[in-house]
Symmetry: C2
Subunit: 466 residues, 2 copies
């Protein structure tokens, strides 16, 4: 395959270094972090170094009628970046420059391969802040964050990725280079094409440049922990907090399964004898102490058994770190839950209106019993966005079947409660069928019409989303 005319054309255009056909590398680029999703083996992986390189890749692939699958760091959790057999993968990791930081206009212009944490560090040097902080932020790229409209822990107060994307450069299926958006704080010239591409999961074009809005560096925050006798009680606390008009800068839930997984992964002195823990922060400057006290009061009123405030920034950082370790800890826990390290997990990502959070959490507990599976629950409680992680034995078809059923039941419940099948991970392959059910036939036809208008031959990321 390495000598195919397509690969030869790519080599001629990009140089040998940017065109990978080594079988190990092809295998490496088959999939993202989503467990139990189908994936194909690409024909070739390209690593463009410029927009012109991307134009070459898209044009050449288009000429051969071979699908193009864009990839960032492949940390996604829905299979959106999974390759299809014979595809040209466009890995954007070599385009990782921060092109410009403007502290007066509070914007940065970056290439899509820059890692979220690298951009954050760079802007911090100028007293600025790029808020979106998906769990993968130390590895994931801005291009991937934009393509999936990534969320994170700070979103409860500061919003998700799309709120920070002002403009894009995108290579279209035609090989044309589209520039969308602006560098100004406001602008309404034409359709909001920028946000049409944000969250489109690589199905409409390849993003080659991103202009993001920045904020002034955040204020110091104060952090507290409240533990609850049931996850639903924690959910009720979240509703009370919202109703009270408070806007914590962080409001996360960790359930007992997760707490135990984290303690087993790295002992941090978390209580593992409680059903749920809420982690909350306030960054309202001189009012933060008062806001934290009010958060504590509301948690107590909702049935919290114990509340303690972090005594200093170090302790607060440790609590956040425990939350951040959750995914890796839970993966290890799942893996080791079955003989031969065959355990895996299917990760739900439902979001419900905040008022329905307690009902969702009650329902998840019931579904775990009904489907006879272990489900660890963690998530962005303040946004009503929960990640029930269903533990399955990959080697046991019956276990997989039970896990898949629980996965579906949780989404069904989320939709019944007025929610969505994906709060922040995206549709990818994992929730493709659910998307159609959630949005309905009219919206699906509009999606297909827009896809056909921009990518008539179906070149980009076929089989994903819808």
């Amino acid at each position: 395959m390495a000598g195919s005319p397509l690969v030869n054309d790519l080599r001629a255009a990009l140089g040998d270094d940017a065109v990978l056909t080594d079988p190990d590398l092809l295998r490496l680029h088959r999939k993202d972090e989503a467990d139990l999703c189908e994936a194909g083996t690409p024909l070739v992986v390209t690593r463009p170094r410029s927009t012109a390189d991307v134009v070459e890749v898209v044009t050449i692939a288009g000429r051969y009628g071979v699908p193009v699958v864009p990839q960032g760091a492949r940390t996604g959790l829905a299979g959106a970046a999974n390759a299809v057999d014979g595809a040209v993968v466009v890995s954007m990791v070599a385009m990782d420059a921060v092109l410009e930081i403007d502290p007066v206009s509070r914007i940065a212009v970056v290439q899509p391969g820059v890692v979220n944490a690298a951009l954050s560090a760079e802007v911090a040097k100028q007293g600025l802040w790029y808020p979106p902080d998906p769990g993968s932020w130390e590895m994931s790229t801005i291009g991937g964050n934009v393509s999936t409209n990534a969320g994170g822990m700070c979103c409860v107060k500061y919003g998700v990725t799309t709120e920070y994307v002002l403009g894009l450069e995108v290579v279209l299926a035609s090989g044309e280079v589209l520039r969308t958006g602006r560098r100004t704080a406001k602008g309404v010239a034409g359709y909001d094409l920028t946000r049409l591409f944000v969250g489109s999961e690589g199905t409409l074009g390849v993003i080659t440049e991103v202009t993001v809005a920045l904020r002034p560096a955040p204020a110091e925050s104060l952090t507290m922990v409240a533990v609850f006798p049931t996850t639903a009680a924690a959910g009720r606390a979240v509703a009370r907090i919202a109703e009270d008009g408070l806007t914590p800068s962080l409001l996360e839930l960790i359930d007992r399964t997760y707490l135990r997984a984290i303690e087993a992964y790295r002992p941090m002195g978390l209580r593992t004898d409680v059903e749920a823990l809420l982690l909350a922060s306030a960054d309202t400057g001189s009012q933060a102490a008062g806001d934290l006290a009010r958060l504590a009061e509301l948690c107590e009123a909702a049935g919290a058994e114990e509340i303690y405030a972090a005594t200093d920034a170090v302790e607060a950082a440790a609590l956040l770190q425990a939350r951040r370790l959750g995914h890796a800890a839970m993966e290890k826990f799942a893996r080791e839950s079955f003989p031969g390290g065959n355990g895996g997990m299917v990760i739900d990502d439902v979001a419900v209106p905040r008022g329905a959070l307690a009902a969702l959490l009650d329902g998840v507990a019931r579904i775990a019993v009904e489907c006879d599976v272990t489900i660890g629950v963690v998530g962005h409680a303040g946004d009503g966005n929960m990640h029930p992680n269903i533990v399955v034995d990959r080697a046991d078809p019956a276990s997989l079947e039970r896990g898949r059923r629980a996965f579906d039941e949780i989404i069904r419940l989320g939709l019944e409660l007025g929610g969505t099948c994906t709060g922040e991970h995206g549709v990818g392959l994992l929730k493709r069928d659910w998307l159609a059910r959630e949005i309905g036939p009219v919206s699906l036809r509009v999606h297909q019409a827009i896809k056909a208008a921009l990518d008539p031959a179906g070149l980009f990321n076929p089989g994903k989303v819808f």
Copy 2:
């Protein structure tokens, strides 16, 4: 015309009360508030009372191949709601219900005809706040605000309309009813169709329901005024404020022409012997006084001649009221600037990166001299979004020509400075040619492809935007 088959069909479907053909009413619905824009006379004005009514109107108009022009309160400033000859106008003012307010999820579901101020008053009763506050907020409808992605004074801290639109119901050209978005704080299921419709100025469908995000009621704010010897000095103050990491809750500029117009319209004791005034507020609770002091310091460093803080909420409200009166005052000033009340104004709406604001303001002053026109400048300085108002004599072709030249020169300068031809008013008819220049041929083709995908027959609002 009243007995045309189209009108008869509309009467049969909606009832006589909802189908207007009185010539005076037809004339009334010809245009919005944009001066000097072309407008046609509609064949009929419909006032649907339900989504089903809108489906009827769109289906019937589509059957006859007659264009459909959606209208709200017709307070727009770009001609986007102007009728075309023989069109069916869909006036959404009778669909003005607030359907639901949910204080826990902090959302409201409304019909598009609800007036912004009415929604604001309604949610305020529950301690909630709908921030977007265009100058027209006491008259304009949420549907119109959504269709133009309206801005306002609070946007410098709280963002524009699109940040608050979670979901929409839209009647498509096919007569199908599309539901977009969600009721949850986060959600990434499929393309962001919601924001594709926000700001699309009635060219893609008729919005029949809007789900908006709300905030807790804002904190009390403190307000100050700084006066400057040049508008550019005020622009430099804005850049320093941004660079310093401050986020005022309001940061408005009023120039001397405007100050004089306001004082003539309603004397408020504003200084009319200065070139520019900055109005700034801080709503950071117990830190507001400190933030206001820092704002004053930065204004002084940028050359402010005098600074005074409002002593109480009443005085602060009066200052804001003076700013809000600007549009009406300037209209009167323009009208009376020429014999026979023939004066009018062409309103620019450029937005530039904050760092370029001083250069824009200097340029506007130069253009006024070069084109021999009076230009009053007012705007959302903190967003870099300025409204230079060019005074013209409608009865004098030479004056109109000089005004049009100044209008174009200001946009040209705005684009050169990295800005946009419209920060918040929209494209409509007024900036249609400039949109094409700003976004370029590739983006224009993408716009046309999306329009064709959703509205293949060009039913909705033909001739607008592009």
